[in-house]
């Protein structure tokens, strides 16, 4: 079985991460923001997996942690978004500045 070269895997990971980060910075829709964050997390996961043949199983273990955390985060985050949406009829994060100052 042919190995995917490390460079390609890391390149994809970096690309995904950059797309995610870029989305987090420029998008205002909370759901999309959330998806971008997931994208970044998965980019990291990809990097972990890509490294694991060389540096052992820890990377793969860590991926499970990340997935677990991401799941928890999604649960809490989506709950917040839904409750905000109930008040504001919107998921535009411009409206989410209640704690400012």
């Amino acid at each position: 079985m042919q190995q995917i070269p490390l460079e390609q895997a890391l390149g994809l990971s970096a690309l995904l991460f950059a797309i995610g980060a870029f989305g987090v910075v420029i998008r205002r829709n909370a759901i999309i923001l959330f998806m971008c964050i997931e994208l970044m997390l998965n980019a990291v996961n990809l990097a972990f997996v890509a490294f694991s043949p060389r540096s052992g199983v820890q990377g793969q273990v860590f991926v499970f942690f990340v997935i677990a955390v991401a799941a928890a985060e999604a649960a809490v985050g989506l709950a917040i978004i839904i409750s905000v949406f109930r008040h504001k009829e919107s998921v535009d994060i411009k409206n989410f500045s209640l704690l400012r100052w």
Binding site: A21, V24, V25, I26, R27, R28, L33, I93, K94, F96, S97, L98, L99, R100, W101
Partner: protein, 763 residues
């Protein structure tokens, strides 16, 4: 007082025979404990009385509740048949009916009549017992007993040992006799004068407390203990001046007395610190023992000590520049003026200087300052006394002036003369004040019957009272002759000793003159000046006292028809003390007749100069200092000149008053035109010194205080608040970076992470 004279004579014979016999004091603590007991009992009674009166509060809006106030004293003290108790401002206000003359008085208002004079008379008896024992033993050293250790601090660099100790020697004995003796009489007088006042038990409690502190002052064996009495009498003076506290002027006067006295107390404190820093002790015996060895004669230290002590004395004894409180202190009840502001407390300064005679002998410059200030006060106050109308004000300025005489005496080193005048002054001035109290009492009662609003203390409103108040007239007359310096009354001898000392000094025969010469000052000129000024002051004294007597007792009665019917002498409690004090004023002077002086020798029944010999052990230290420094006075050439001048001036002053005033029709206050003459006006307004102090000192301090309060509020606290505000502003400013936009935060995180990674890679 004759007893004293006689006993003093015995003393000398006893001293000759058994000089070494030990003196065993008889429970001297009782002298202190009895008045204190009186204070406690009367204090409890007064609280009981005050509390009992409280539940009967009339409803608010009762027309009587806000007592109306008249500025003068007599408005306040109540009368047996007074129909308007509500008019008397006091702690009971309108509801103290039970405390008034209607029906039987409660125990709280009868018991003090026995307790207060009782404890004083008992204390006097104990003092007399001790006096007789001292007379028999004539101890050369002071009897000191420490009851407990008061402020012990075992500082390795100089331990402080101040005990609660009593010192009984000839000087404190004499003072104790005067305080308890004159004090007893004044307490008896107070019973007659104050018993209708709703605050009677409180008054008696204060008076007892005063005597306790005054005795502490003279019996304490150390300067700090003396200071206890010193400030304690100040407290009682404060409370008693402001006794009728509802009248704002009275409360103000009390406050003024306390604060001015505290300025003096500051001096007393500094003097004590100086003494302790240089001698390591504050007990009289040790100070007098160590001072000659450890401080240089005429040196800066001892001079500073004496000057600071004198500042204290000037405060307590109303000398320039701190005399201003004493005339205002007349706001208190008249017996208080007699006891505190004439006979005892105000002479504490003289006692202090006499007690510190050793120190003052070592400090000729300070002594000269004392003498000069005393002389200046004597003539200054006498001149003000010339133009006063209020009978108590006249006596107040007379007191200030006479205290000036005493300070002139102790300043010149004539300690015995100063103490002698202190004693005779206690007799005749107490007599005069009590007499004025009897006059005011009678006047007010008469005026009250007709609801007249005439001022019962203004001598212009009196006149011809000798027919209605014969006892008062004769006793006050004797006291006037005594204060004017007419032989053979008491004041003549004592005042003559003072002017005689100045005369001797002008001829270079005083130790102080030699002492001054030693530090390079020619004292004779100063002494001549002092003699001249004192003589003028004595002349003025005779004049204003004559004027007061003429206005009060001679000529036509000016009270009005109706009032005249009600003028009469008071009860025996009022007259008896007057008679006793008049007797003392008559014969008290024989106690210390100078044998060497030709004219007065005739008056001497004993060996003469009994007081000199009596006080000799106390002043031995001062004499030793003088001898050790070669300034002991040369043998005094007896001279008749000062005595002749003194007699002439005394009689002349009285005669001048008689010729100037009695033939003229005297007018009442209402008819009398205001002083038109500039000099008269200045004198009447007391040289505007109060106004000056108000402008220069009181307002400046007040202004500074307000300035500082503003500074504290807006600058010191402002800075603190500014610090708080700054953090707040900073927070607000930094808060602006928190846009609340998740994108912004994410971007910031991104940049941050990038930078961290960059730094990580590059190191």
């Amino acid at each position: 007082m004759l007893l004293l004279q006689e006993a003093a004579v015995h003393a000398t014979s006893a001293a000759a025979g058994q000089a070494g016999e030990s003196f065993a004091a008889f429970a001297p603590w009782l002298i202190l404990a009895l008045p204190l007991l009186g204070f406690v009992l009367n204090g409890l009674l007064s609280i009981t009385a005050a509390r009992r009166a409280l539940p009967a509060l009339p409803p608010v809006g009762d027309p009587h509740w806000d007592a109306h106030h008249e500025p003068s004293e007599q408005e306040h003290h109540a009368h047996g048949d007074d129909a308007h108790p509500a008019a008397h401002a006091d702690d009971h206000g309108a509801h103290g009916h039970d405390a008034h003359g209607h029906g039987p008085k409660p125990a709280t208002h009868t018991l003090p009549s026995f307790i207060a004079p009782g404890v004083l008379i008992a204390a006097f008896a104990v003092a007399v017992v001790n006096f007789l024992r001292m007379l028999a033993a004539h101890p050369e050293t002071a009897w000191v007993h420490e009851y407990w250790s008061w402020m012990p601090v075992n500082d390795p660099t100089g331990a402080l040992r101040v005990g609660a100790a009593i010192q009984l020697d000839q000087l404190s004995m004499l003072m104790t006799l005067v305080i308890t003796g004159v004090g007893s009489l004044i307490h008896v007088f107070s019973v007659g004068y104050m018993k209708e006042d709703p605050g009677y038990p409180r008054y008696m409690a204060y008076l007892n407390l005063f005597v306790f502190f005054m005795l502490t002052l003279v019996l304490g064996a150390s300067y700090p203990l003396m200071f206890v009495g010193w400030e304690g009498v100040g407290l009682c003076s404060y409370l008693l001046i402001g006794f009728w506290f509802k009248e704002r002027a009275n409360a103000d006067a009390g406050k003024k007395a306390f604060i001015v006295n505290r300025i003096g107390d500051f001096g007393f404190l500094i003097a004590m610190f100086l003494l302790f820093a240089n001698l390591g002790t504050l007990n009289f015996a040790e100070v007098m023992e160590r001072a000659p060895a450890q401080m240089a004669f005429g040196g800066a230290v001892v001079t500073a000590v004496c000057l600071f002590f004198f500042l204290g004395a000037a405060g307590k004894s109303a000398q320039i520049p701190l005399y201003v409180w004493l005339p205002d202190a007349m706001a208190g009840p008249t017996p208080v003026s007699a006891l505190i502001h004439a006979a005892t407390m105000v002479t504490a300064g003289v006692y202090l200087v006499a007690r510190s005679a050793t120190l003052f002998t070592m400090a000729p410059v300070a002594s000269l300052v004392v003498a000069l200030v005393g002389t200046a006060t004597a003539i200054f106050a006498a001149s003000i006394g010339l133009k006063q109308w209020d009978i108590k004000k006249i006596l107040a300025y007379s007191t200030v002036s006479q205290l000036g005489f005493m300070f002139a005496a102790v300043g010149m080193g004539a300690y015995v003369a100063g103490v002698f005048h202190l004693m005779t002054h206690a007799f005749f001035k107490a007599c005069l004040f009590l007499g004025s109290g009897a006059v005011i009492h009678a006047m007010h009662e008469a005026l009250h019957h007709t609801h007249s609003d005439m001022d019962a203390q203004d001598v212009r409103n009196m006149g011809g009272l000798r027919r209605y108040l014969p006892v008062t007239f004769w006793t006050m007359g004797i006291a006037t002759l005594a204060i004017a310096g007419v032989p053979p009354f008491a004041g003549f001898f004592s005042k003559d000793e003072i002017t005689g000392a100045a005369w001797d000094g002008a001829h270079g025969q005083l130790p102080l003159a030699a002492g001054l010469a030693k530090v390079g000052i020619d004292g004779t000129l100063w002494f001549g000046l002092i003699w001249g000024a004192l003589s003028i002051a004595a002349f003025m004294t005779a004049f204003y006292m004559g004027r007061m007597m003429i206005y009060t007792f001679f000529g036509q009665n000016r009270t009005g028809e109706e009032e005249r019917k009600h003028l009469h002498e008071g009860s025996w409690t009022l007259t008896l003390p007057l008679v006793v004090l008049a007797l003392a004023s008559t014969f008290g002077g024989f106690l210390n007749v100078e044998r060497e002086v030709p004219i007065v020798r005739w008056f001497d029944f004993g060996q003469g100069e009994a007081l000199h010999r009596w006080l000799h052990p106390v002043l031995a230290g001062a004499d030793q200092v003088a001898e050790a420094n070669g300034i002991a006075g040369a043998a005094v050439e007896p001279s008749a000149v000062p005595i002749a001048v003194a007699i002439l001036l005394g009689l002349g002053g009285l005669a001048l008053a008689w010729t100037m005033l009695s033939r003229r029709a005297l007018r009442t206050a209402a008819e009398e035109p205001a002083y038109a003459n500039g000099v008269e006006r200045v004198l009447y307004h007391k040289y505007y010194v109060d106004e000056l102090y108000d402008r220069v000192v009181v307002r400046t301090v007040g202004w500074l205080s307000r300035l500082q309060a503003g500074f504290d509020r807006y600058v010191v606290d402002g800075l603190v608040d500014f610090g708080g505000k700054m953090s707040e502003w900073l927070g607000v400013a930094l808060g602006r970076f928190q846009t609340g936009q998740v994108n912004t935060y994410a971007f910031a995180i991104l940049i941050g992470v990038t930078l961290v990674l960059y730094a990580f890679v590059h190191t």
